[in-house]
């Protein structure tokens, strides 16, 4: 392959896109045959726009593109796909109620006299899946029964049917467990060997370093570097992305660890969480680690009363007292707050303003006798916009117009007005760019200094190791072990995360049911 690596497949020059404001300007980039090019940058840096332009979903305002030596101006996605330029988006495009085979060939099902030719469909599907090493999955499995990792593979397989010269992967590992990530990387290597060029978009730097040869960094819509990735360490890359230095070490500041503020006693919910108990003290950050599906989100929802527990309970207050929590409003009354993982569907009123979102849940402080005081509402919003450094044009701006990081700050800001001594954070930095992440970490530190007790669930182990005082590891619904700061290693934490699944194969079978019989 080494000879062909030097041939350019796709080149873009002077590409720019302007909506109300320019989001991408004057990008020059060449993609070689059979290479994996990492594309990274903060959220809003223009990664998605650039990839959508290449994939034919967006028409550029300026610039030209060339594909295999010919001018390339796809009018839409279908045209780009016909030429062999394919894109796997972050949101999967599969129909969960149809089988793998049907999903693979949905736009061109093999037919005989108008009826679907089941036999040929099955054969073609097996061939397509074999291409990326997934012979193990029965093509008659419903897509909805597959684990998210395998679904992603099916999506990739679908894009490889027919000609595929350029494959764009947009944050392909966002939903994957580390084992599924390994599987994906293996497939990427295979594709590369076949001469497929891949644009790999992600801001997980360690992944980029593993799979890609060159890295392109976007900042504020401009390309700041295209270089062999080996030239940089991750700290330098972060600096390139955000344009300023960020300390690797996190100083959470001096604070006092006080009394127990939340005591969880044997919480269980069938099939999700099994007899989990732990204490969190004032001024402490308790991390919860584990694989996706280990019951982390479910545990937080049980504590908060969003779902009801089958058994067990919690104690809060000073002195500790057992409380009954049947609904989120009970939890809030007892001083517990939950910042959910999915901001869009569970946290925010997307079509409403920042101020309306912050006011929600704080009506008592801005209303009298049921009447909202518009002035107080705005002041409240402005106070949080300033305190949280929410980047916005005004408190009346719609939250749908904000970046992910700023949306997260709006959700947190809503809770800061209420003095909840216990705050539960579910993936507080998911989908947030590096700069905003450190803002959130600093805020968590500030909250502990105020004497609040924090519980933080995160899939990013390094993040937890950076900010937590203790980390509890959930595995298959059970709290396997709790580690103290300075006495943990990444390996121990990972081992604990797998401990609940007695054999590794249990996981695999769960993810890919087979009809062997």
């Amino acid at each position: 392959m080494s000879a062909s690596v030097q041939t350019a497949v796709l080149s873009v020059s002077g590409i720019g896109k302007t909506y109300a404001q320019p989001v991408l300007g004057d990008v020059d980039l060449t993609l070689m045959r059979g290479e994996v090019l990492a594309l990274t940058g903060e959220n809003g840096a223009g990664k998605s726009t650039l990839s959508k332009i290449i994939g034919g979903l967006v028409t550029p305002t300026t610039g030209q593109m060339e594909f295999q030596g010919q001018p390339y101006q796809p009018a839409n996605r279908t045209q780009a796909e016909k030429l062999g330029v394919r894109m796997v988006m972050q949101e999967l495009n599969l129909l969960p109620t149809l089988t793998v085979a049907e999903n693979l060939f949905l736009d061109d099902l093999p037919r005989r006299a108008g009826w679907i030719d089941r036999k040929r469909l099955r054969e073609n599907a097996i061939k397509a899946m074999a291409q990326i090493g997934l012979e193990a999955i029965d093509p008659d499995t419903l897509v909805g029964d597959l684990g998210i990792g395998h679904q992603q593979m099916v999506e990739i397989a679908r894009n490889l049917i027919g000609d595929c010269h350029v494959l764009i992967l947009d944050e392909p590992t966002a939903m994957l467990t580390s084992r599924e990530v390994e599987m994906l990387f293996e497939q990427i290597t295979r594709l590369q060997a076949r001469g497929v060029s891949i644009i790999y978009i992600s801001h997980r730097l360690e992944e980029l370093a593993r799979v890609s040869q060159r890295i392109a960094v976007l900042r504020d819509g401009k390309l700041v570097c295209v270089e062999p990735i080996a030239r940089y360490n991750s700290e330098q890359l972060v600096t390139l992305m955000v344009g300023r230095e960020l300390g690797e070490h996190m100083d959470m500041g001096a604070r006092e660890i006080g009394e127990v503020a939340l005591s969880v006693k044997g919480l269980s919910r069938a099939g999700k969480v099994e007899n989990v108990s732990f204490d969190v003290r004032r001024g402490e950050i308790f991390g919860i680690s584990g694989l996706i599906g280990a019951g982390r989100t479910e545990l937080l929802r049980l504590i908060y009363g969003a779902d009801s527990a089958d058994s067990g309970g919690i104690e809060v207050g000073q002195p500790l007292k057992a409380v009954t929590i049947r609904s989120p409003s009970d939890a809030v009354e007892h001083g517990i707050a939950l910042i959910t993982e999915d901001r869009k569907s569970e946290g925010l009123l997307m079509s409403q303003s920042i101020s309306a979102n912050i006011a929600l849940g704080n009506m008592h402080s801005i209303s009298k006798a049921g009447l909202v005081n518009a002035g107080d509402e705005l002041k409240l919003a402005q106070r949080q916009v300033d305190a949280m450094r929410i980047r916005s044009s005004s408190p009346t701006q719609l939250v749908s117009e904000l970046s992910g990081g700023n949306q997260q700050k709006v959700v947190i800001g809503r809770w800061l007005e209420r003095d909840c001594p216990v705050m539960l954070f579910d993936e507080p930095t998911r989908g947030i760019d590096v700069g905003a992440k450190f803002d959130i970490y600093a805020l968590l530190g500030e909250l502990t200094r105020q004497g609040r007790a924090l519980v933080v669930v995160s899939s990013d182990l390094r993040e937890l190791m950076l900010i937590c005082d203790r980390i509890g590891v959930l595995s298959a619904g059970r709290l396997i072990d709790t580690f103290e700061r300075d006495s943990w290693t990444q390996d121990q934490l990972l081992a604990a995360a797998f401990a609940g699944y007695q054999k590794r194969d249990a996981l695999l079978n769960e993810a890919a049911p087979r009809n062997d019989s």
Binding site: P328, M350, S351, Q352, M363, V372, L416
Partner: protein, 330 residues
């Protein structure tokens, strides 16, 4: 975290900016005006005191029902039972007065109470079992109509002029019922935009789960909206009784569609989360002026229905187009 910055007090408040801007009202007012001009050109008698007072006399029922329906659509629900509930309330009033010899006020209160109860039942079942209000209210539509027939033996009861004062014009062709309906509109608009209750309704319609996870129990608010709808159907029943001097168990059949049409023409979203009472008022005026105008120019019943239906569809298409564009520009 309560560190206040000094620079913040100077921001201009965008009044009602979260909901519907002035632009929407201008569009609706323009459409209404165009319609009035058109009918004035087509008919010599249209632009007259007579038309105006007839309209003012006839629309109070539609006005109050549409207010309730707007709130229901805002929380993402729908209530198909309003016409039947109106008939139920009217029947209760007639039985109380004619059958039991009650005086006007207790009878009126009984009618309103029955209607409120019917709305509360719809709301409670919808909320308790998480069933779409569409189907629950469809059931209540049948039940309320059945109870109305049962109570009255399916006969229209003549009540006389004891309620007539409600629809007798006091000045400029305007009756107390019209004034009451206007008051309901202004109060409801204030409730929607200026009270905690109103904020919660819009929040629930936008994203109920987010509201719940913000520590607010949405259930009582949702039930309350359906109760209010019932109450307003009771009020509308009184307006109708006063105009007809009779209580008809067949009253209000198909009225729900007219009410929903008026609300939707006003631009309230069927998906919830977006709506305005003032816009709904314009919707009521548009649909009523259209009906009155078509009658004056001698349109036949089939023609009237075809044109009215077309106007509803056009209004929704325009509204969809407008909100798409707004989203793109945002």
């Amino acid at each position: 975290m309560k560190n206040t910055s000094p620079a913040m007090q100077t921001l201009p408040a965008r009044r009602g900016g979260n909901y519907l801007g002035l632009g929407t009202y201008l569009g609706l007012a323009g459409a209404l005006l165009a319609m009035i001009v058109l009918f004035s050109l087509l008919s010599d008698h249209f632009l007259s005191y007579q038309t105006f007072s007839t309209l003012a006399n006839q629309i109070p029922d539609l006005m109050v029902l549409s207010v309730g329906m707007t709130l229901i659509l805002i929380i993402g629900g729908i209530d198909l039972s309003v016409g039947s509930v109106l008939a139920l309330a009217a029947s209760a009033v007639s039985v109380a007065i004619v059958g039991w010899g009650w005086s006007v006020f207790p009878a009126a209160l009984l009618g309103i109470a029955c209607a409120t109860l019917a709305g509360t039942i719809t709301g409670s079942i919808t909320v308790a079992w998480r069933i779409p209000s569409f189907i629950v209210s469809l059931g209540v539509l049948e039940m309320a109509r059945g109870v109305a027939y049962q109570m009255t033996n399916s006969r229209t009861a003549y009540i006389g002029d004891s309620f007539a004062w409600l629809s007798d014009p006091v000045a400029f062709g305007i009756s107390p019922s019209f004034i009451i309906a206007l008051l309901v509109i202004f109060i409801a608009q204030a409730v929607l935009t200026r009270t905690v209750f109103g904020r919660y309704l819009i929040g629930i319609g936008t994203n109920e789960e987010a509201v719940r996870l913000a520590g607010i129990n949405p259930k009582p608010y949702k039930i309350l909206v359906f109760s209010l709808m019932g109450l307003l159907a009771g009020v509308a029943a009184l307006f109708q009784i006063s105009r007809l001097e009779a209580a008809d168990p067949n009253a209000g059949a198909g009225l729900e569609l007219q009410v929903i049409a008026a609300v939707v023409i006003g631009g309230t979203s069927l998906m919830g989360g977006r709506g305005s009472i003032i816009s709904t008022f314009f919707g009521v005026l548009i649909i009523s002026v259209l009906a009155a105008g078509l009658a004056q120019i001698g349109a036949t019943e089939p023609t009237k229905r075809i044109i009215t239906g077309a106007v509803i569809v056009i209004a929704v298409v325009l509204d969809t187009y407008r909100s798409h564009r707004a989203r793109r520009q945002g």
